[in-house]
Symmetry: C2
Subunit: 185 residues, 2 copies
Amino acid sequence: MEASDSNYHLVSSQKIFDHPWVKIIHDTLEFKGHRLQYFYLASPVEAVATVGVTALGEILLTRQYRHPVGEVIFDLPAGRLEPGEDPLDGARREFEEETGYYPRCIQPLGYYNQFPGTLRAATNLFFASDLQPTRQKLDEGEFLEIVSMPIEDVLQMVLRGEVIDGSLQLGVLLAYHKGLLAPAS
Amino acid sequence: MEASDSNYHLVSSQKIFDHPWVKIIHDTLEFKGHRLQYFYLASPVEAVATVGVTALGEILLTRQYRHPVGEVIFDLPAGRLEPGEDPLDGARREFEEETGYYPRCIQPLGYYNQFPGTLRAATNLFFASDLQPTRQKLDEGEFLEIVSMPIEDVLQMVLRGEVIDGSLQLGVLLAYHKGLLAPAS
């Protein structure tokens, strides 16, 4: 049966878990005489993550313990938007807070959702350059290191499967394909 | 403060929402004298998604209505592992059920998590080829179309930002970089 017909009707919607960061929603839809149960997670705000390149041609990575995966990992300067905040403003704010650099140039790079069938929580990816040193402002309980790494090393780390963070992997590959990263030859 | 010290101790753990597909966990950790609150979502099983290429050099995409994002979108043949199932076996099973093709060749392509700080639910990416026609076996209430699209068109769609699904974006870029996709020149 064709699915590109978006003629789905919402029959009922129930919020079965409600928290400031995540809601769990159970919707019943009707589609061509069928009743469909849809169970999904929704975040009230979207996320942002930024590939930032220094004047020396290195990428600024964050390195921190991530409890859900139980490991110290590399990821991108990233965070949640504040309610109503523009994604680009939020990306610039999070980048400066975590790295201590204000990106004078910042542009949209991509947008993705790991589970569009069960999750409403997208990540907006950005590319930043022309980084001006300011001051790091970490949240209470936020412990992270900033690691500056040559572009080619980051790319190889991604291709060798050593990075779990989806934003770091996708952000670096998108930036590379868009000609924003030029690894030293 | 350095974060690469993974000397975090679990003080307490509480399951505040428990469902067969998702658990919400609130853990308290101790790190260098600080008490940290960690709130995250955990799925009991991982996901799989597969970039499959036909003998004609086209990628098999799924097209379906995804209620959390409220749109009909392109994504990859994908699904959840069954408890204890090997990711490669699960990817082959989901690929055959959704597309009606059994992949005689299938190999690991990548692994990612959109939110390693707030989510324990990774997606295992695979690359499949040598596709043998069998029979589609959709779940009750699963409506999708299979669309076969030239590699170069998929790549351009990803780079133009027309794809929301993270697995389709990352899978295609990883396969391209690993030399598994050779767009017609």
